[in-house]
Symmetry: C2
Subunit: 429 residues, 2 copies
């Protein structure tokens, strides 16, 4: 009986096989995400991993269905395993935002699912640290969110030489489009093969949609491909490249960078208009975090999405919002590659040896005593030879070995040996 | 857009509506489960929430399909959201048990899913603390597992007056069946209506299966119903009631109770042969934890299942095993009813007020300083009046309010006010 392809088993360390994942390493990054979010005043939320299919098609269009784990449940509902958290967050925030002071600062660590047919060996689930700020239009919110993103990575041991956040803004590209209106091709706009038109009926927005997808692929495609695609969209590649090379910050981006500099975090960001984000729903600043050596896919990505909550709530609630997602897979790969994952031992502090079975019940009493004191204690469940017990204590990386002995006066003594210093202490119990 | 019926949204406290669930309370019990498991030397694991359907039918028979979220995925695989963790654990342990020293002590906190058509308002998902010991046949393992169960509940604040674990054993009932062979009814065994025969072709085991289901319902049904059902199975209700009332412990149960007494945990268990557990796969000791007032469903349940790993591994691996599951729903209801859930405030320690916008950048620097020191710090993202900032600090339950001021000598001073004692301190920064 095998697990499904694209899904992961998480084992305690040491993980028996390179194809398996470490439950300890996963918990290590979850703990750091959670602790950092709390230092920033973000509160935890969660929603169902299974949602109505409509929640996702409403946001992303029907095309997304091909990538979903979707099915009809026994109550005839069209449902899907969540491929991302933002629609659920928008649903939850829209329903009860009145009860929370703005700005709402929330985080979650959901497991997300995508059925991707083509890529062999590609994962079909991952965990994602999601942090969002809702109800604040000022770019001060972007700065706060980016500081959280930076510190989440720093809390895992990553430094400025390891990663950088590339900051961009759709507003900058909107300005570019206004300054460089596309040349009409054969009188009407039609996207080139492989660049699907945005589903909006608004031509302006359709141009922007196709243009954003073109920019998104700019670094991956060859110069010739880019030249051709730019021309097909009615733009000059040279002007686009010039605009990116110049990288003049918008007013928002300038404010964000200055804010981060004031915190001493300026070195973690740079303006880079290559970044545009594939998703249609971003409305302003967008960003992606990358490892500086360029060995991995994006570590995290996000941006502002001021229209989504209105869309999900059917226009009932309008709130500006922004957020990011950071997956566990790339982060764990990066931490491993940089030697930043600690050695995960069993959490045992005390090994309570039982060499005299007549003292088993007294030993159990003392095991309970130390566990009640908050100590992680292991002991032999069944009779075992002293050397085997000692070996087990070492395997478990216990700091101390305990054992009971009865003195000549009939009184019990508890012996404690420090396995690091080899020092022994004796206490009457 | 609504969430699916039977699924829960978890909101930060204070939760806006009694129908919604608290993400903070959930994290509170997760933290306590995890910390207690570690004190007992249990290691964390996890598997996929989606598994091949066969994994569950192999263990529980085809009848379980009616209660599953199952579907055909885009690769034509029959899959199901996990309704319980034990099959996944058995699959994972069987695959790599050679790499782990016995006994294996593992825990997980999975979300589990069941599609139950009939019950309105009944949840279709819950989280469950699962702890298992694999590779130890001695009842010393039961005692260790039960001690963990007791301490998991104690760590949430529950006491001996709040809950008790009812201990039983299928071996005791096997002995009863041997001592009281069922009277043949019309020459052959056939289960009464509503008591389906166990799927095994072995008559002995079929009798045991139907008998266990009868015992399982004994407390819920009326005396007349029980009389009738006992007769239909070929037993005398009086003998069954007598056997339960007598409650003579098996050798295993005696050892377990003595072991727990040695730890000072004897008051948390009692032998009660009413408990038999519905699931077919238990092989020895079984147990359930209940609130003493009898207001709630079982808090936790488990037992020994020595044959399951062989079943799941197709006979490749044979290992004795036992475990328990404790759901979040009943536990949260019980803790709430007993007033044991703490007040969950925002985690803020410091509120950094910014009254002079000229000092915003310096204030951001100090916010970062304190967050770097591990403090949870909040501040106004945008300019706000001092009284509004003070009110916000109080809402967030901040312990200290900070602010920067520039002295007459032009130097910056950081003022810190303790909101509990009203004491103020000033530091040059």
């Amino acid at each position: 009986m095998e697990r499904l392809p694209g899904f992961r088993d998480f084992y305690p360390e040491p993980v028996p096989h390179p194809d398996l994942w470490s439950a300890d390493a996963r918990q290590f990054i979850f703990d750091r995400w959670r602790a950092t979010a709390r230092r920033y005043g973000f509160r935890e939320y969660d929603g169902p991993p299974l949602e109505p299919l409509d929640l996702f098609t409403l946001k992303s269009g029907d095309e997304i269905v091909g990538q979903l784990y979707n099915f009809i449940d026994k109550g005839d509902r069209a449902v899907a395993l969540r491929p991302e958290m933002t629609p659920t967050l928008a649903r939850m925030a829209a329903a009860h935002q009145r009860n929370y002071k703005k700005p709402i600062k929330w985080f979650a660590i959901p497991q997300l699912f995508r059925y991707e047919r083509q890529q062999k060996g590609r994962l079909r689930e991952h965990f994602q640290f999601n942090a969002d700020i809702i109800g604040e239009a000022s770019p001060a919110a972007e700065a706060e969110l980016l500081a959280l993103l930076i510190d989440s990575l720093r809390s895992c041991g990553l430094r400025a030489e390891d990663f950088v956040i590339r900051l961009s803004s759709r507003n900058a590209w909107q300005q570019f489009l206004a300054d460089h209106p596309p040349q009409s091709i054969a009188g009407s706009f039609s996207p080139p093969p492989g660049v699907p038109a945005h589903s909006s009926s608004d031509t302006q927005s359709a141009i922007a949609g196709s243009f954003y997808q073109f920019i998104d692929k700019l670094e991956r495609n060859s110069a010739e491909e880019n030249e051709r695609a730019a021309g097909a969209l009615g733009f000059k590649l040279e002007e686009i490249n010039q605009f990116i090379a110049q990288g003049s910050p918008t007013a928002d981006l300038e404010l964000i960078v200055n804010n981060l500099r004031a915190r001493g975090l300026g070195e973690f960001v740079k303006i880079d208009y290559h970044v545009i984000r594939g998703l249609a729903y971003y409305t302003g600043v967008v960003f992606e975090a990358f490892d500086k050596k360029g060995e991995f896919r994006a570590i995290a990505g996000g941006g502002r999405y001021d229209n989504l909550i209105a869309l999900i709530s059917g226009g009932k609630v309008e709130l500006p919002a922004l957020g990011f997602g950071m997956g566990d897979v790339v982060l764990l790969e990066l931490l491993k590659a940089r030697g930043l994952l600690p050695k995960f031992d069993a959490p045992i502090e005390f090994f309570y040896a039982i060499e005299d079975e007549a003292l088993r019940e007294d030993s159990l009493r003392r095991v309970q005593h130390w566990r009640d004191q908050g100590r992680a204690v292991e002991y032999p469940l069944t009779p075992a030879k002293p050397d085997k017990q000692f070996k087990r204590a070492q395997e478990l990386n216990a700091r101390f070995i305990f054992k009971l002995e009865r003195g000549e006066d009939g009184k019990l003594m508890e012996k404690r040996k420090d396995l690091t210093t080899r020092q022994e202490e004796v206490m009457a119990v």
